[in-house]
């Protein structure tokens, strides 16, 4: 399959998954919190298309898109979100802690900025073992203010670690607009403080994200040193599902929805005759079926046994 179609497929799958999670959450079927990736699908799809199973991603609270793009099973994701024992984390983690280390997902994370040192540590292990694996850390504009961002980029720079720091700037850190939580033109300008490379791109242009990150990752594998890639994008929903979003003007949300990364890519592929309308519908249909199956799997799975609340705290000791 052409890479364009693969990218469209991934974005479509994420879109469908998140839309369904949104509905299920509104119906009270999902415990706890969810932070939806709707509107940002192009970033995860574009970056992760360049990664192998043995490359690592570290994600954040808004992590469903990253996990799907990295190859996580929708069934096991949905089951985890539902808190079922068949979920990735046996129901112990939930939406914010989905992980599948076997395919290089070193977890979503509920603490803003916490993933950066962890991704940096994973990258260190690749340098240690002299492999050509890379680590990618996804975080937002808010996280780039956190101390861990600065400590991590600084360290990665000194050691020239194979880590790509992807800042998904959706122009809000919870309720605070970017211009009010930092005083720089672009998050990627912070690269100068650490002596590393970086740039800012339109995160809603999936081909741009894919091609840019492809080059960066190839360089990383050859020891090119850490990179700060800022992808400008926008989340369609609140910071978390259920919050009133009083801080974003309706016109702003509407104008970004017109730059829908999925729809605009469909239109581009149609106009370039890379896909026909039937092809797009087929991709939609398949994605919907996959999500349906995931929901059925989650709903049909049992909750974990209560005592499992105390399992897996410690590894077996000596």
């Amino acid at each position: 399959m052409r890479v364009e179609l693969e990218l469209l497929e991934t974005m479509t799958r994420i879109r469908n998954f998140e839309n369904r999670v949104m509905e299920l959450f509104a119906d009270g079927k999902i415990p706890g919190f969810v932070h939806l990736y709707l509107g940002e699908e192009s970033v995860a799809a574009g970056v992760c298309k360049n990664l192998r199973d043995r490359d690592i991603i570290v994600s954040n609270h808004r992590g469903h898109g990253h996990c799907i793009a990295k190859g996580a099973s929708m069934k096991k994701m949905m089951a985890e979100i539902f808190g079922k024992s068949s979920g990735f984390c046996k129901g112990k983690g939930g939406s914010m802690h989905i992980a599948d280390v076997g395919i290089g997902i070193l977890g979503a994370n509920g603490i803003v900025g916490a993933g950066l040192p962890i991704a940096t540590g994973a990258a260190f292990s690749f340098l240690y073992h002299e492999t050509d694996q890379v680590a990618v850390c996804f975080f937002g504009d808010g996280a780039s203010d956190q101390g861990t961002f600065h400590e991590s980029l600084n360290f990665a720079s000194i050691w020239k670690l194979p880590v790509l720091y992807v800042c998904e700037n959706n122009f809000y850190a919870e309720s605070i607009p970017t211009k009010e939580h930092n005083n720089i033109a672009h998050i990627s300008d912070r690269r100068h403080g650490y002596g590393i490379k970086g740039m800012t791109i339109d995160g809603n242009d999936v081909m741009k994200v894919y091609e840019t990150s492809k080059e960066i990752i190839e360089e990383l594998r050859k020891g090119g040193g850490p990179f700060l890639l800022e992808c400008e994008t926008y989340r369609w929903r609140g910071h978390f599902e259920g919050e009133p979003q009083t801080y974003r003007p309706k016109e702003e949300v509407a104008s970004w929805k017109k730059r829908d990364p999925v729809k605009s890519f469909q239109e581009k592929l149609l106009s370039e005759n890379i896909v026909a309308q039937e092809g797009i519908q087929e991709i939609e249909k398949k994605a919907k079926e996959e999500v349906d199956a995931a929901v059925a799997f989650a709903e049909g799975s049992p909750f974990p046994e209560p005592e499992s609340a105390l399992a897996d705290v410690y590894s077996k000791s000596l």
């Binding site: 690592i56 570290v58 979920g87 990735f88 984390c89 046996k90 129901g91 112990k92 983690g93 802690h97 992980a99 599948d100 280390v101 076997g102 070193l106 977890g107 994370n109 509920g110 603490i111 916490a114 950066l116 040192p117 962890i118 991704a119 940096t120 540590g121 994973a122 990258a123 260190f124 292990s125 690749f126 340098l127 240690y128 680590a135 101390g147 861990t148 400590e151 991590s152 600084n154 360290f155 000194i158 399992a311 897996d312 705290v313 410690y314 590894s315 077996k316 000791s317 000596l318």
Partner: protein, 325 residues
């Protein structure tokens, strides 16, 4: 048997493990070129190279989190925080990440890392360089906590801590580095989770760890001249602590004094006291007493620090109070 210092024994233990297992690396402030504040890591960078023993910028949060990422990928990091007081700068990575990642991910990762650190008082280092924060780590599910008090124990426990697949907070009391003790030449391990009876006795069980355990042994030598035969139990591991050994001793003596340098409230001594009461109430001849630090930061001036810290005389005094009930 030869006698070497605590710091030398620790250095030997680290060296032996690094030779044995190439996935072990050491990182921290001043550990590489300088060899650590007490010479514990001296020579290791030269022998094993920069990748395996390196200095970091003053970035505790990154230090703690680097260990998490590296350990998740199969390495065995041994990280040094110069003072446990500085671990406060890394608390999210230690408590929310290192301690919880295995659990939150349903057991699919293990984090075989060691966070080594200096703790305790006695050198007039004042409030921000003299703390005993062990109870924070004991309180955090997912962490093991170890506090050896002798040269023999520190070597044996650093080896078992490194080999253990859990995150271990390894507390080295600042007063102990020069203390000499018998250490065999041949390789040995001290298991995590096992206390040691440092002195057998029948009248009272004095429970302590790190420097307090050593002071308790000295206090016992004074107490015997006053007709009190004290059993000194050195916890060695704070979590998981050695429940059978504690109960066995308490059932024998019926009288308990628990020691800690740390401030009184919610310390390890409180936990041990509650545990004993729950499990050996009938055998107790009186309430368990604690000799601890105060609900106050560590003061600077020498007479103030001396007032604050439990010492041999205070242990003797409190033991007599326990006996008098």
């Amino acid at each position: 048997m030869r006698e070497i210092s605590y710091s030398q024994a620790l250095a030997e233990g680290l060296h032996e493990e690094m030779v044995r297992d190439p996935s072990i690396f050491l990182a921290g402030e001043d550990v590489g070129v300088y060899g650590g504040d007490f010479g514990v890591t001296k020579g290791l960078q030269k022998e094993f190279g920069k990748k395996r023993c390196f200095d970091t910028p003053i970035t505790e949060s990154l230090l703690a989190g680097l260990a998490v990422g590296a350990a998740a990928m199969g390495l065995r990091p041994v990280i040094e925080f110069m003072f446990n007081d500085f671990m406060t700068c890394a608390m999210d990575q230690i408590v929310n990440q290192a301690a919880k990642m295995r659990f939150m991910f349903g057991g699919v990762v293990k984090l075989p890392l060691v966070y080594r650190t200096h703790f305790g008082a006695g050198f007039n280092a004042a409030a921000q360089h003299s703390q005993s924060l062990e109870s924070w780590f004991v309180h955090t599910p997912g962490l093991y906590v170890v506090a050896p008090s002798t040269a023999y124990d520190v070597k044996g426990l650093i080896k078992s801590s490194i080999r253990d697949d859990n995150p271990v907070v390894f507390l080295e009391h600042i007063f102990l580095y020069d203390k000499k003790g018998e250490v065999p030449e041949a390789e040995y391990i001290v298991p995590i989770g096992k206390a040691q009876i440092r002195r057998q006795g029948k009248d009272i069980t004095i429970i302590g760890y790190a420097n307090m355990a050593n002071l308790a042994v000295q206090a016992a030598e004074k107490l015997i001249t006053q007709g009190i035969d004290a059993e000194v139990l050195d916890l060695r591991t704070l979590k998981p602590f050695d429940e059978p050994s504690i109960l066995s001793s308490v059932r024998k003596t019926g009288r308990v004094l628990v020691l800690q340098e740390a401030p009184r409230l919610c310390g390890v001594a409180a936990e041990i006291s509650a545990f004993i009461t729950e499990n050996a109430f009938k055998q107790l001849k009186g309430p368990i007493m604690r000799l601890t630090g105060y609900d106050a930061p560590m003061p600077f001036s020498p007479p103030l620090e001396k007032f604050y810290l439990p010492d041999v005389d205070k242990i003797v005094e409190y033991s007599k109070k326990v006996m008098a009930y």
